[in-house]
């Protein structure tokens, strides 16, 4: 927006010319924003667009390289969270900033304790005050429960209480619904709408359209650190407008997709039950199949069993019951090594923590899953020369930059090139099954496209690909089949209409190809669904684009399939 709004007390927050870079990477450039008092203002943008950074600057966790912040019309210096708290700003982080072993009460008062003059805590006084605040806002919670024992929704309440206890007038929520169930989300929206009545200001950082439609008054769209637009959210605002603004970076793949022609089942997971670290059942009778030449996308909100699914398949996690077969051979409860030997390769979610050994050179990293083969070692001695030339091949083939990097530590590569290396290595194993977990996390647009192209290419070569992603758009874009994981269960699979290849090509020429491409996804309900449901969905053919995303989104949030059908009919 070129129109400079005047600095005025009408606005709770105004930020002007905010500039921030981490190292060489510019995250925010000349960012301006106005947030009106007494509104719910959403910040919408893709991962890495800079929205969290902006809020961390407002909360004093980061300091802008340049720029000014005005609170209620007054220029304010916020150098630390303490400054922000003093200025009545409260923030609820995406990963809650709670101390698990403390009680709710201790968490709320920490840093702002009521004490006598000797520093001895006055718990009673604090309790009374917290109760007063929580009653006023309808935030019922057991103050003496330990945080580690309460649900995620309750933990969020503790965070909100923390802010209110400090008399916050401006509340920032970073991805508040990422881990909440639908009921909890409703609760959350009710609570924040109530704040507005007291003239408090709420800022929500999110990349989810639906929440914005349901809760916000205004919405600012951020793309690559730039304020693209600020819109009023009214009845008439269309999700499409928002999405267009936000995800124009999201391009269709340019690889020609062969017709979907699945072969034999490569991975068969059957009635899998697995416990997570906390010894709680994280996968419940989970089943899925991936065929050769198929990309199966697993959609779902973080923490619904994706990690356990991957760890069970790769042999890192013990399976309680059920089977995992690769090409008909059971591999559950063996070892990561046995799984690898059965021609399974994994592109890990976190390349810096699991995928690569950053202090190893690129060459050393290139053979980390196959240094045992006779090509790279003999009688226990490594063949450094062949390892190096192998790495050089990969570097050339996958265009890893800088191109003479075989002997430098992987740490010195950029994130995108590290990921290229990790992917190149796994693909070079020529696996039967390729598992890709959040393969584009934290990558820039160009790199994302590259990764998608590679995955589709591998699919065309007849590999079975299991794609697990939190980005529903990514899943919709490149998968042949989509399934939804919620609370450790597989809620059903949806085939992408691959017969529609012609349509896909046509759409590519249009400008709004991203959104349109989703139209091509039609729904062939898996055999589990009743004919009734199939009918309902077919009737709504015209709304299909939104339906696809919404239905999957709905399921991801824990809605039942039948409920959904009822709602739309």
């Amino acid at each position: 927006m070129s129109l400079e709004t005047q600095i005025s007390p009408k606005y709770a927050v105004q930020m002007r010319g905010i500039l921030k870079s981490f190292g060489a990477k510019k995250v925010l450039s000349e960012f301006n924003i106005d947030i009106k008092k007494g509104t719910v203002h959403a910040l919408l943008g893709e991962n890495g667009a800079g929205k969290s950074t902006l809020m961390n600057i407002l909360y004093g966790l980061h300091r802008a390289d340049c720029g000014k912040i005005f609170l209620n019309g007054k220029a304010t210096n916020i150098r630390s969270p303490a400054d922000a708290i003093k200025n009545k700003i409260g923030m609820v982080h995406q990963h809650f900033m709670l101390i698990d072993k403390f009680t709710v009460l201790e968490n709320v008062i920490l840093g702002n304790e009521t004490t006598n003059k000797f520093g001895i805590l006055n718990i009673k006084k604090a309790r009374d005050r917290i109760l007063k605040v929580s009653r006023k806002h309808g935030l019922n919670i057991d103050l003496d429960a330990k945080v580690e024992d309460i649900s995620v929704g309750m933990q969020q309440r503790v965070e909100i209480l923390k802010a209110l206890y400090r008399d916050a007038d401006i509340l920032i929520f970073d991805e508040p619904t990422a881990v909440l169930s639908p009921a909890e989300i409703e609760d959350f929206i009710r609570i924040i709408r109530k704040f507005i009545l007291e003239d408090k200001t709420v800022i929500i950082v999110t990349h989810k359209l639906r929440e914005i439609m349901n809760s916000a008054d205004k919405c600012t769209i951020i793309r690559s650190g730039i304020n693209v637009d600020t819109l009023d959210i009214t009845e008439k605002t269309c999700q499409k407008d928002l999405a267009q603004g936000m995800i124009c970076s999201f391009t269709g793949s340019n690889v020609k997709r062969d017709k979907f022609n699945p072969g034999n089942v490569v991975l068969r997971v059957k009635n899998l039950n697995t416990k997570n670290e906390k010894k709680v059942l994280a996968l419940k009778n989970f089943s899925l199949e991936v065929r050769a030449g198929e990309i199966l996308g697993v959609a779902g909100v973080d923490g619904n069993g994706q990690k356990e699914l991957v760890d069970s398949i790769t042999g890192l996690l013990k399976v309680e019951s059920g089977t995992i077969e690769i090409n008909g051979k059971q591999i559950q409860n063996t070892s990561p090594r046995n799984v690898l030997d059965n021609k399974v390769s994994i592109i890990h979610e976190d390349r810096s923590k699991v995928g690569l050994i950053l202090d190893y050179t690129v060459a050393e990293n290139s053979v980390i899953t196959k240094y045992r083969s006779a090509n790279f070692s003999k009688h226990g001695i490594l063949k450094r020369k062949s390892i190096r030339s192998f790495a050089k091949n990969l570097i050339e083939k996958y265009n890893i930059k800088p191109n003479n990097c075989a002997n430098i530590p992987a740490r010195n590569l950029s994130g995108g090139n590290q990921q290229k290396l990790a992917i190149a290595r796994e693909i070079s194993n020529e696996p039967d099954l390729l598992i890709a977990v959040q393969p584009t996390r934290g990558l820039d647009i160009g790199a994302v496209e590259h990764v998608h192209n590679v995955l589709i290419e591998e699919r065309s070569k007849g590999r079975a690909i299991l794609l697990i992603s939190l980005e529903i758009d990514e899943i919709l874009q490149i998968s042949d089949t989509v399934c939804v994981i919620y609370n450790g269960c597989n809620l059903g699979e949806f085939d992408r209409n691959a017969a529609d290849g012609k349509k896909v090509t046509n759409k590519k020429k249009s400008d709004k190809r991203t959104l349109d491409e989703k139209e091509t996804i039609s729904k062939k309900e898996s055999d589990k669904t009743t004919p009734d449901e199939k009918e309902t969905i077919n009737k709504k053919e015209s709304d299909k684009r939104i339906l696809d995303e919404k239905e999957i989104g709905f399921l991801m949030m824990g809605g039942r399939k039948n409920d959904y059908s009822r709602k739309i009919s």
Binding site: P336, L340, I346, V354, I357, E364, I368, L382
Partner: protein, 367 residues
């Protein structure tokens, strides 16, 4: 980045800088307490280099700490802090003593038997530490400390058994002489040469074995599949595990070998250096802890341990003559080493300081 800057950011520079700072801080302490720094340094230097005998003694003194250094460096490569090297050493020496006292084999076999028993004792303790780490997640530093003291008390117990205890002393009887590895008697031909001085020392085969072990470990770490796995586990355990490496097995293996090397160091000391016995003590002899310093100064390179071990051994030996000549308490050496280790601990900041400094320079130039 200029070449100077590049050089200043290298680990070796951080190390040199740490060593210099160690001497600098100690010099300041010397000045404050009224000693002449040049006198002390001169005496230290002469104490090491003035006569072949001194140099030989430095080598003898360095042998055990080179080996414990290699032992600790190897564990470091797998991400393990083998604080328990002291205990492994003690157990090794007890085993060597028992074997050397009870068995009575011909010379070469006797020595072999003693060395093998020392290695096994140290290796068993190391293996146990590794097992507790990989099975139960018990931190090797804490268990190492506990095992050190348990080993010390056990050693004192053995020393005081009447089968081994030498009456009216704090130590045991020496092992059977067939287990001695001194090579003085074989060097008679040097008697009238300028090397005769060396004959006054207890030259033994230990140093040769120490160097061989260091080189061998260096090859294992840098050239072999096993070394590749060990370093991968040390740098990123999760990545190593999901790449199909058996972390559980590797940790136990590394700790077993590491303990074995510490035990070897002990056995070589018992066979090589008089009184060829073990003494009761309320405190550690620090062969393991000094190995820690050796490994840290060598940046965990086994070959580097040879040099840092000699450096450390030289300081320890030279420290005695400092006390004798200048009257400065020999503990100044411990201060030097302590300060060096302190700076090694914070070595991460040296490159940052260099960056900051050069940035500042840059800005000034531009202004």
């Amino acid at each position: 980045m200029t070449t100077v800057e590049k050089f200043l950011k290298k680990p070796i520079f951080s190390l040199i800088f740490s060593v210099l700072l160690g001497f600098l801080v100690s010099s300041i302490i010397l000045v404050i307490t009224g000693y002449s720094v040049p006198d002390v340094l001169q005496s230290l230097f002469e104490g090491v280099f003035s006569r072949p005998r001194h140099m030989a003694n430095v080598i003898i003194k360095s042998t055990p700490i080179i080996l414990t250094g290699v032992s600790i460096a190897l564990a470091f490569k797998a991400g393990l802090f083998n604080m328990g090297a002291e205990g492994q050493f003690i157990l090794g020496s007890v085993a060597a003593l028992i074997t050397g006292s009870i068995l009575d084999l011909p010379p070469v076999l006797q020595v072999l038997a003693i060395i093998v028993s020392g290695i096994i004792a140290g290796a068993l303790l190391g293996a146990l530490t590794g097992f507790l780490k990989s099975k139960f997640g018990a931190h090797e530093v804490i268990t190492g400390i506990m095992f050190n003291w348990m080993a010390l008390h056990f050693s004192n117990f053995i020393v005081n058994l009447k089968e081994f205890h030498k009456p009216n002393s704090a130590s045991t009887f020496p092992i059977k002489s067939s287990g001695f590895t001194g090579i003085r008697s074989n060097l008679g031909f040097l008697k009238d040469t300028s090397f005769s001085d060396i004959l006054k020392t207890e030259v033994n085969l230990g140093i040769i074995i120490a160097v061989i072990v260091a080189i061998f470990m260096s090859i294992v770490i840098n050239k072999t599949k096993k070394g590749y796995e060990i370093c991968a586990i040390g740098l990123n355990e999760k990545a190593a595990e999901s790449a199909g490496m058996n972390v559980f097995k590797n940790i136990i293996q590394v700790m077993t070998v590491s303990g074995g090397i510490s035990g070897l160091a002990a056995a070589l000391m018992v066979t090589g250096i008089s009184p060829h016995s073990v003494s009761a003590s309320t405190n550690f002899e620090n062969n393991g802890f000094n190995g820690l310093a050796v490994a840290l100064i060598a940046s965990n390179s086994p070959i580097g341990c040879i040099f840092s071990g000699l450096f450390f051994g030289g300081l320890l030996y030279g420290g005695r003559s400092v006390q004798a000549d200048v009257g400065t308490p020999s503990e100044i050496i411990n201060i030097i080493i302590g300060v060096i280790i302190f700076f090694v601990a914070i070595a991460k900041i040296f490159p940052l300081v260099v960056s900051k400094f050069s940035k500042k320079n840059c800005e000034e130039n531009h202004a």
